[in-house]
């Protein structure tokens, strides 16, 4: 039997770990993101949360259901939110983004400057023994909306990743986005997703139930590890897993196929 806690534990295996979480239209990954953030915050570490899909209010509301007040953590300088979407197409105002405010520069360079400045600020204020985690939601939006090439965006993400303790990237992996290569955007998007999957050491894929919709199952979660170039022999005993999950209001059940549930 696998619990959600065991699955989330796979994001904390080693320093410098890059994890990838993919979702599809019918199986949204927000719940996973919030469960992960609440787990990091519960250990006393710092989260830098960059979201290209949702605003701060959405995350605040969802986290409140889990019993976590993000505003408090933000005041304690444990949680930093970067709204990558709201100001994406605004005219540049010239002012730097300070902590928590939306990014207001429409170029990747501006965004990169802002994020790098924030990481710098967080790292310099970091207490002894605590770590900085980066959670990036839907950076693939920039491929579609910003017209950046997958390689440029990937290099940018990996540059950010190099500076923090561990990174989780969440992207969309609908088959229209990962297995079509007719148009330029399709190629870039597929190239971005597969390259990231090659770089990541843990890949968590959320998808809909293969057999259709069900009232008591939200979707399927598959978690696979990729072998790494490392001097340490990787421990055995972990097999790739596939479990079902059900998202209820404020709580998530994770269970195996055919398992009896209360």
């Amino acid at each position: 039997m696998t619990t959600l806690d065991e699955i989330l534990q796979q994001h904390f295996l080693r320093p410098g770990q890059l994890s990838l979480v993919t979702s599809v239209l019918g199986a949204c990954a927000s719940w996973y993101e919030h469960a992960l953030i609440s787990k990091i915050l519960s250990t006393g570490d710092v989260v830098i949360h960059i979201s290209f899909m949702h605003q701060a209010t959405f995350h605040n509301d969802c986290m409140r259901k889990l019993g976590i007040d993000l505003a408090q953590y933000s005041q304690k300088e444990k949680y930093f939110f970067v709204d990558g979407f709201t100001g994406l197409f605004f005219q540049p105002t010239g002012q730097r983004c300070s902590r928590g405010c939306p990014v207001v520069r429409p170029s990747l360079q501006g965004l990169s400057d802002d994020v790098n400045a924030l990481i710098e600020e967080v790292l310099s204020a970091l207490e002894e023994g605590s770590k900085a985690y980066l959670v990036i939601e839907s950076p693939d939006l920039l491929l579609a909306a910003g017209g950046y090439s997958s390689l440029v965006l990937l290099n940018e993400l990996l540059d950010w990743h190099d500076r923090v303790y561990s990174t989780t990237v969440m992207i969309h992996a609908d088959s229209a986005l990962v297995s079509q290569t007719r148009s330029r955007f399709e190629t870039e998007s597929a190239s971005f997703a597969t390259s990231l999957a090659h770089e990541a050491s843990i890949l968590t894929s959320l998808r809909m139930l293969d057999t259709g919709l069900a009232r008591d199952i939200s979707g399927v979660l598959r978690i696979t590890k990729r072998p790494e170039i490392s001097a340490v022999v990787s421990e055995h005993g972990w097999n790739d897993k596939e479990v079902l999950y059900f998202v209820n209001d404020g709580s998530v059940d994770v269970f195996s196929r055919g398992e009896m549930r209360a």
Binding site: L151, D174, V178, S179, A197, T224, P227, E228
Partner: protein, 337 residues
Amino acid sequence: MPFPADHRRTHNLLLLSRLLSLRDNASPFTLLLDSLSQSAAPLVTEYISRAAAAKLTTLYVSFGTAPYMPSNNNMTIIGARGLGLQQLSQKISAALSSAGAGKKALIILSPLNPLCTTHPAEVPQFLSSLLSPTTSLLGVFHTDVPAAAAASEKAYPDTAPAPLTLLNYFATTVITLHSFAHVLQEKEARDRSAAPPAFGLDEGVDGVLVGLGANSPGGLVLELEYRRKSGRGVREWYFLGEAVMSKLPGGAEEKMVLLEEHPAWRVEEKVVDGAEEEKGPESTFELGLTERQKRAREEVVLPYFDAQRESGIGGGGMILFTPDREIDDFDDEEDEI
């Protein structure tokens, strides 16, 4: 005299052992083709540890995330993300000369995809500029990352061959990696003349990037193509595991074995052999017949055998009808309604 199969086995195992240990500069440029189903990481780790054992200088030119190697002092990691070719070759030659000129070195480029996207036309020249009698190149290429279009038509025309094609011509050894679990399942399907299953992105399931059984722990399958100087090629399939699996002449012990000699591969074959011997369905009942029952069964004359004889009861097509003795369900009033 050894059997030809035995000779082939020894020869090919020695060949792979020589290639992995970079002995005699056997292959100046080795291309590893990996996919999401089987990563090249275990094989690259094998190369690195053998290079360390042979006291070679190892350069890891990383175009992605840097490898996690807290305790390897023999290896220099060069971060190559976003660097131009000029800067990159300067960095590499600086690292090589600081290790000692003329010393044997292994240069690992992983992955080559970004380079092929940014400098598609210059990649072969760049790679051959790194080659020298003392260096071996090891390039990793992800086959399932679609090549993004070049920045402009002028930089790399559409009609020019894909960078992977050029690399394929250029390489002296090409190793394609496969997941052992997937190879076994494909073989099983082939033996039943069924269509081989697809994995990962080919499955066509929305949201699946990596199939189950990918990167199976314990070992991986290598499809080797080695091009000799004479132009003749050697093709062989190997299994590279984690424990010692074969002994080579000269006393060397190796972790690899020809794929066809792997126990799991052979078990599969045995199962297929067994299937040919006709076996009835399994049940707790005795479904067979004893000799006596068989004889009794053969003696029974079925009623219609009589009818088929010409002079039998039927007498050539006559309809026999024996009315029931009593017909009592006639309803006289039926017609009156």
